[in-house]
Symmetry: C2
């Protein structure tokens, strides 16, 4: 099996000015091709240290991928040094100069003469077109060694890798690894793992538990010759996970609970309105993160004081006095109130203590209630995160409100189906 290493070039990385995300992106992409990465190394914009690092890398690895240092300024030395280390020389390539000029024309900017440094490449090199910047990438192969040079900015390097470098490295591919995320809500990581049980021992696909801001998910990764074959291996395991974890699962390969809830609303042809206290707009923001949400969401009310809960949502002052703002009763009246005021089909609400301080004695930060009101239905859920972390509590509160909405929509859809 071929081994690869990633060599990042840039003093700004060694100063801690920027985070090296390229190494991670490339490592994951190479792992998915069955190519082993054995080293990451970073050196600054220093000719001797870079030259030594390239030589060392080419000595111990079959494939070396560099990122950074392809720009037009004098401290961009990767092109020159790497080409020399690989035993090639640079020549001016007019077609590259044309592409660079064209890029400047398109973006309406003036090209500096120094940009023409980027039009130099070894005759023997494959050139990777840069659609998001001026520095072309380069690929060289000789005597069983392969050297790839990519630009530093991730929005240039990542599409270039996907479009041009994956095909360039095709001969080194030993397999295709395809991963899927089965995302859950309302169950902890360890309980989820316990229910997944012996599925976690599988070798192909592998199944691994992870957690992320108040939710847990399983990653199912299969290795095969092709992506389709990998998916065939994963399918029965994902089916079995779905059987076991049932309604905890809100989606597969979706980016968040809002991406599960909003489409269900569209399918059902229903609208939702939100009343938010502690999340103060975050539920509405997440609903409208999904393009086209304007079809199902029109009205949100943020009630950050008791007075506004009474005035804008019609919450009974007696309820607030007796049970407090953070209570099942208040949450329920908020959901009912926003449904009535807005005329939406469904009202959802959130009230809770996000922290750092809780205003009511005996109620800890992380105590949250979320409620839903719809034709003939009232639901309420109590959440205790046990954490005094404002951002975490607000995010989890918004997630659980959206999950309450999702569960309600599923329950009415299944009733429809059994009619």
């Amino acid at each position: 099996m071929s081994v690869c290493e990633i060599l990042s070039v840039g003093t700004e990385i060694l100063l801690g000015d920027i985070l090296n995300t390229n190494s991670r992106f490339l490592s994951r992409a190479l792992a998915n091709m069955g190519i082993s990465v054995l080293y990451h190394e970073t050196v600054g914009d220093n000719e001797q240290r870079l030259y030594d690092a390239v030589k060392r890398a080419l000595g111990r690895s079959d494939i070396v991928i560099t990122t950074g240092g392809l720009g037009p300024t004098p401290d961009d030395i990767t092109r020159d040094v790497c080409t020399k280390a690989f035993g090639y020389g640079l020549v001016f390539r007019p077609e590259l100069a044309d592409q660079i000029k064209e890029y400047f024309d398109r973006s309406g900017r003036q090209m500096a003469e120094s940009n023409l440094r980027q039009a130099y490449a070894p005759e023997e090199a494959t050139v990777f077109r840069n659609h998001n910047g001026t520095a072309p990438g380069l690929g060289m192969k000789k005597d069983g060694k392969c050297l790839v040079l990519l630009p530093g900015p991730p929005f240039e390097a990542e599409p270039m890798f996907r479009q041009s470098v994956v095909p360039f490295l095709e001969e080194y591919r030993t397999c295709t690894i395809v991963s899927h995320q089965v995302r859950t809500m309302g169950i902890g990581e360890s309980s989820m793992a316990q229910i997944a049980g012996e599925l976690l021992d599988g070798e192909n696909p592998t199944v691994a538990p992870y957690c992320k801001t108040g939710e847990a998910y399983l990653r199912v990764s299969a290795r095969a010759a092709t992506a389709a074959e990998a998916d065939r291996l994963s399918a029965p395991v994902i089916n079995e996970i779905e059987k076991r974890l049932g309604e905890y699962i809100y989606g597969i390969d979706v980016n968040g609970i809002e991406e599960a809830a909003v489409p269900l609303l569209k399918e059902a042809g229903l609208t939702v309105a939100v009343a938010e206290s502690c999340t103060a707009g975050l539920v509405a923001k997440r609903i409208t993160d999904v393009p086209g949400a304007s079809k199902v969401f029109h009205h949100g009310i943020i009630t950050y004081s008791n007075d506004v809960k009474i005035k804008a949502l019609g919450v009974n002052p007696e309820t607030l006095r007796k049970h407090g703002a953070v209570s099942e009763e208040t949450a329920t009246e908020m959901a009912q109130g926003v449904r009535k005021v807005s005329g939406a089909d469904i009202g959802i609400s959130v009230t809770g203590f996000a922290g750092p301080d809780s205003d009511e004695p005996g109620k800890a930060p992380g105590l949250i209630y979320t409620a839903l009101s719809a034709e003939g239905t009232t639901l309420c859920e109590k959440i205790e995160t046990g954490r005094n972390d404002r951002d975490y509590n607000r995010f989890v509160a918004s997630s659980r409100a959206l999950n309450l909405l999702r569960r309600y929509l599923i329950s009415i859809a299944s009733k429809e189906n059994t009619r």
Copy 2:
């Protein structure tokens, strides 16, 4: 000057499963002590490759800092391999065993026997206590070389570095570098840099321009023997920047415009209410990200349709028909409406096209209006981001609304002062 390198250990980094944030944290912290970092390297949990990497690192650098591989499982080999490479041997240290047991007692969990592996350390080593996990850190010095071993999880490594490793490395410190961020809003990075002019050529402090989701900032970094001395060097330069960039500057070393606007509201003893269309809760969410915002913010209304703008805010249907939902006229009526409905001192509003699609012909995504209504004042600002990026446009829209609020509060404060 002493040179340092950072050696990260962990196959999960080479697989791209985790992002290597430790290297960045350590690089920045070392730069602030005047210690040069010349290499980052990452190797997997492989004995031979790790041994070679440590030997190579100790050969070319004065200080080597490793992260990761100090856990209790068999693939945690950093302690053994590094100690051997440094020429020391491990001995059982009962006081470390006690600390580990104590950590488990505190967190109410059962200690596995394997955790006692973490109680082994060279007799000659300085032990760094881990307050957030079980793996102690280690520091060794011999023959002008220094080797420091840190645990992998950032929430363990970062406090340990600050508390214990900074003093351990004190003899290598050549200076103290202190940086300040001067944050601006409403001016582009290149215009800001032009106004900063020759200040960007300074050597101590250095002044460098950066940009970040719709705002630009200057970083002023001074190098001196002490932090106080560094701040004395920066002060006149920051003063001069403040003179030149004036009201564009919303704060120094603050984390966002909300942290500038909310304290001004508190000082003025005024309340604000928000009416949001395209941002749909993001302005309210950002206001309430600031702890204690409940003193100045009580009510927000999200109006994601024309009907709700009319019904909930009293926007004139004729205004919507004639000028559209995304217009100066609508934004202004929204701000006036929310002020009236809520009874707050100030109303602010946002309406715009976030993208990907704009609903009105001739109006592009990124066109946004934000307005403010207060006693005797109406303000409106038009923003054209020129981007079709939903997240970016919504974030910038919320920032500019908060900046409109900030500018208004400053203008009334200065009127108060001149009375």
